[in-house]
Symmetry: C2
């Protein structure tokens, strides 16, 4: 695992003021991640966040319109981070099939070690994505937000992997459907494993989720 001390760009449609560009902004992100992970997105409020930070609530609104936009920011950050990881892992590799294997590994392996150096804790963020990211998409404003580019990071990441699939098998018709099925499925199953194990045939310890989806993926494209 390479250490990724790179800046992650997030679309400026997602914030009022860029949290990456100030100390308060970075404090907001760091504490938001901790709090959302601890309380869950429903119980998480700007009031509680402001207390954790020690700044007035009104200051938070100068960075994010509301907690939904903050969640969108975090999800976008995560998908950009994953894409960057994929790019680094597949760099300078000739064989498309090896590149695809590397990419799929990044998408299916658990995010375990804390490789974060910056103000973003990727392990906690991964947990937030698993538990809360569905809420960022499933709103009545999806279409408007989609037009604004609020899901571009996700689309870009999916497209990048889908392109490798296309290289490996140009005749396969559903590369993006396969990649998004894989990504969402892995997250879903990790949540089930932890909370509704009756829906999985997996056990903590052995990583049957990774195995299952890698198998699924390559069966589909061959």
């Amino acid at each position: 695992m390479k250490n990724l001390q790179v800046t992650i760009d997030v679309s400026d449609k997602l914030f009022v003021r860029n949290p990456d560009a100030s100390i308060l902004g970075q404090k907001i992100i760091r504490n938001a991640i901790n709090l959302i992970d601890k309380l869950g997105f429903e119980a998480f409020t700007f009031k509680k966040l402001s207390i954790a930070i020690g700044s007035p609530e009104s200051s938070l609104y100068r960075y994010f319109e509301n907690k939904h936009m903050l969640l969108l920011y975090l999800t976008n950050w995560y998908w950009s981070w994953l894409e960057k990881k994929i790019v680094l892992e597949t760099l300078n590799i000739e064989s498309p099939i090896v590149r695809l294997e590397k990419a799929i590994t990044v998408l299916t392996e658990p995010v375990l070690e804390d490789i974060s150096v910056s103000y973003v804790n990727e392990v906690l963020l991964n947990r937030i994505i698993i538990a809360e990211s569905a809420k960022a998409i499933h709103t009545k404003e999806v279409d408007k937000e989609n037009r604004k580019g609020c899901f571009d990071s996700y689309k870009n990441m999916v497209n990048r992997v889908a392109e490798i699939v296309h290289e490996v098998n140009p005749r396969f018709k559903y590369p993006r459907m396969l990649v998004s099925t894989l990504v969402e499925g892995v997250h879903q199953q990790r949540f089930f494993l932890k909370h509704l194990p009756a829906l999985t045939d997996s056990r903590e310890g052995e990583d049957s989720i990774t195995n299952f989806y890698i198998q699924l993926f390559f069966k589909m494209i061959s």
Copy 2:
């Protein structure tokens, strides 16, 4: 498509008073489905529901603890309904592989026609499941609610199909993971198709989602 005028049982852990057993209760369910579909779960409130029904807000709390429990009730109703559909479709069929094909068809085909006779509109309910069901599961109370049996309908349905998979191929190790991947994936992709089509390779009209998942399913178990 058979007309299913059968009663659907939902665990009594999910409600304070059984909405199925009174006119007001049925009005609550009918209007809740309409409102959640129209407003989305976030904007949906007991206040608005009470106005739609013409009863005081306090009356709603005599049926459901809060709107989250109401959503849980609806999701459970849906999974029980789907399971009943599967049971009816596979009744008196000898061949396990044909039974499995029928079951998978029920799980993957779109819910289009309004076959509802009772107070539950299954077409709207299906839309609610696609758009909102993730929110019923992704809460900090999952584990407690799981112990109470709040997800039994879902588990039962998945298990029933997983058992047919086992009949067809007893050596396949992940029947439940495969079934839940299929169910969740189909819903996810239907949502993407409507709102984030860039994540799909599917188009409105031709049903590549159904095709994709049927293909995926049988490639995995063979």
